[in-house]
């Protein structure tokens, strides 16, 4: 891991009785693509807005490159935020939107024009420079918002649900695009998202937040293979949950780790309840006596399981986790 860039230390923020952030601590490294992942109301947006300067924590510290960030007003922070709504200025052209932040730095006109041109090229919107935001598609607006933030060359770029307003197909493209851009411009990205697939596919590391607390900080693979608690196991990917070895514990078994075997030859027996063919893989749902939910098994290609037949379930990899959330 590179040198730490952003340090969030014991940050708390309450709104009335609701603790939006409850002693959150995180360290984000230089050049990292970091995701804050959690369900709505988990505190991730409050944390993001605290870093940008639009929320004021009740307690704790936020350091950027070792210096106190909370003491600065939003317009003095070397941090930029890409708003979920994009917040493009409707009365300004695309080029003027992107140049807005550079003008505030009192840069020479020629330099502003040059940097705006460069960034337009980077996001592939050179032809749209003179248009107004209202004349662009959703994906194009998203690129303008991104260009407007990265043209400032911030030390840290915050992105609030950057892809949520896009339709499915554009979203998949933009996930790759965001990753490419992050490598290209070499800026540390912090993305807030509620979409675990999005976080998994883009981020180097992910912090899973729930109830204003950090549940786990890890790489996507680590989160998936070794969830720290039941909440993370359930939130990330699909899990089969079984009673654990000791009280209050659960066993997490991922569907792709399970093989269908002859009845009696595995660790559990059940009856095939349903099969779904998804192209590259198939999902088999198996009813296991004593289990409320069917046990899910992922198989490569088409499955040979037939509904109503008894099967055995075998697996090697499993993780025992505690409850986590109260």
């Amino acid at each position: 891991m590179n040198a730490p860039l952003l340090e969030v230390q014991q940050v708390s923020r309450s709104f009335g009785d609701v603790r939006a952030l409850d002693g959150v601590s995180l360290t984000i490294a230089e050049n990292e693509f970091f995701a804050l992942l959690g369900p709505s109301g988990c505190g991730k947006t409050t944390l993001l807005r605290s870093i940008a300067g639009f929320e004021h924590p009740d307690g704790g510290a936020v350091l950027l490159g070792g210096s106190d960030l909370l003491a600065l007003p939003p317009n003095k922070r070397p941090v930029n935020l890409m708003f979920q709504s994009y917040a493009l200025f409707p009365h300004l052209s695309v080029a003027a939107n992107i140049g807005y932040g550079l003008k505030r730095e009192k840069l020479p006109k020629a330099e502003i024009a040059q940097r705006v041109d460069e960034v337009l090229e980077t996001v592939g919107l050179t032809a749209m420079a003179k248009r107004r935001p209202a004349q662009l598609s959703g994906g194009q607006r998203q690129r303008v918002a991104l260009a407007r933030a990265i043209v400032k060359r911030p030390r840290l770029l915050l992105l609030d649900e950057p892809l949520s307003a896009l339709d499915r197909k554009v979203r998949a493209e933009m996930q790759l695009e965001l990753k490419r851009l992050q490598h290209e411009v070499g800026i540390t990205f912090v993305v807030v998202t509620h979409d675990q697939e999005e976080a998994m596919s883009m981020a180097d590391r992910i912090a899973v937040l729930a109830g204003g607390r950090v549940q786990q900080v890890a790489t996507p693979l680590e989160l998936y293979r070794n969830p720290a608690n039941l909440f993370v196991a359930d939130f990330i990917g699909t899990s089969n949950l079984l009673p654990g070895p000791s009280a209050g514990q659960h066993l997490v078994v991922r569907p792709e780790d399970v093989r269908l075997v002859a009845p009696g030859a595995g660790r559990l027996d059940g009856t095939v309840a349903d099969t779904q063919f998804q192209g590259g893989t198939s999902t088999v749902a198996v009813d296991v006596p004593g289990q409320a939910k069917p046990f899910l098994v992922t198989e490569h290609g088409a499955t040979e399981a037939v509904r109503g037949t008894p099967v055995g379930l075998a697996w090697q990899h499993e993780v025992a986790v505690g409850e986590g959330l109260a």
Partner: protein
């Protein structure tokens, strides 16, 4: 709104549906159109006709083509009245804007429940008769009035100021009368500005002043222009306020037009004066439409 969309562009709409589509707009628009035809279009046409006629001996007009009325307008006496009226209306509008913008801004930032209360309070003065409200200012402003009592009382001055019957008093009366017409459109415009845009401006490095000038003000410009026109138009044509608070010393276009019709019995000349005001106002409204379109941008294709 297109018919092909409504009907899927397949079957030809039934006769009933087509009839309904023709009748519906007529029924909905009819009363309004009739009202405007009777009370706006007809008088304007009549006044346009009067402009080219000769004055009748005892009021009314003689239908005899004449252009004399137009050349009389360039008389310096009348030009001076126009200049003074435009000046007073302009100052009143500017003051109303300077008072109205912060007020509207403060109201827009109130919690929703209090916003309604504040807006009702803004409109409350309209519940009292206009004349009575203007008379009240005489009580406040005259040399034995409350304002002078106050100034002498707190020791600002020993001599009582001449406040009433000055152009200043006229401006005060105009601002007071039409301030709500400034506040309401400003409020509507300010309330519409997305808070994210102001935050985005700060995020990109703009201070409060820059954010106001670069984002807030341009985005609320349609409200500024609408409010200004709503204050400027009735101020320019007002003849009650100059008469009561200006003491007849300050003559505005409104007084002049009224006098041509009711005192001088010169309807054609009054018509020319009135039409000049109408043309000015139409130009103003065209300007407003232009500003609004510029800010809100061309419609999305």
């Amino acid at each position: 709104m297109t018919s092909t969309k409504q009907h899927g562009g397949l079957a030809r709409p039934s006769l009933g549906a087509r009839l309904r589509r023709g009748v519906e707009p007529a029924v909905l628009l009819g009363p309004g159109l009739l009202f405007y035809a009777a009370l706006v279009a007809a008088p304007v046409l009549l006044v346009t006709g009067y402009m080219f006629a000769r004055r009748g001996r005892f009021g009314g007009v003689e239908w005899e083509l004449s252009l004399d009325n137009f050349s009389r307008v360039t008389d310096s006496v009348y030009l001076e009245v126009f200049r003074e009226s435009l000046g007073l209306a302009f100052v009143a509008t500017l003051l109303a804007l300077l008072i109205g913008y912060p007020t509207a801004y403060a109201i827009a930032k109130l919690p929703p429940r209090w916003r309604t209360v504040a807006l009702v309070l803004v409109v409350v003065p309209f519940w009292t008769n206009f004349l009575i409200r203007v008379y009240a200012w005489i009580v406040l402003l005259n040399s034995q009035g409350l304002l002078n009592d106050l100034l002498v009382g707190i020791g600002v001055t020993d001599d009582r100021f001449t406040l009433l019957y000055t152009p200043g008093a006229v401006v005060v009366g105009l601002v007071y009368s039409y301030l709500p017409l400034m506040i309401l459109p400003l409020y509507a415009a300010i309330e519409k500005v997305d808070e994210d845009l102001l935050e985005a401006s700060a995020d990109l490095g703009a201070g409060r002043v820059r954010t106001f000038l670069g984002v807030q003000l341009p985005l609320t410009m349609p409200g500024v222009v609408t409010g200004s026109i709503l204050v400027f138009v009735p101020s320019l044509g007002n003849f009650v306020v100059p008469e009561l608070l200006g003491g007849g010393k300050t003559v505005m276009v409104g007084n002049l037009i009224r006098d041509q019709f009711l005192k001088a019995q010169d309807w054609p000349f009054g018509s020319v004066l009135a039409m000049i005001v109408v043309v000015l106002l139409v130009l103003l409204f065209l300007g407003q439409a232009w500003v609004t379109r510029r800010v809100e941008g061309p419609a999305r294709g």
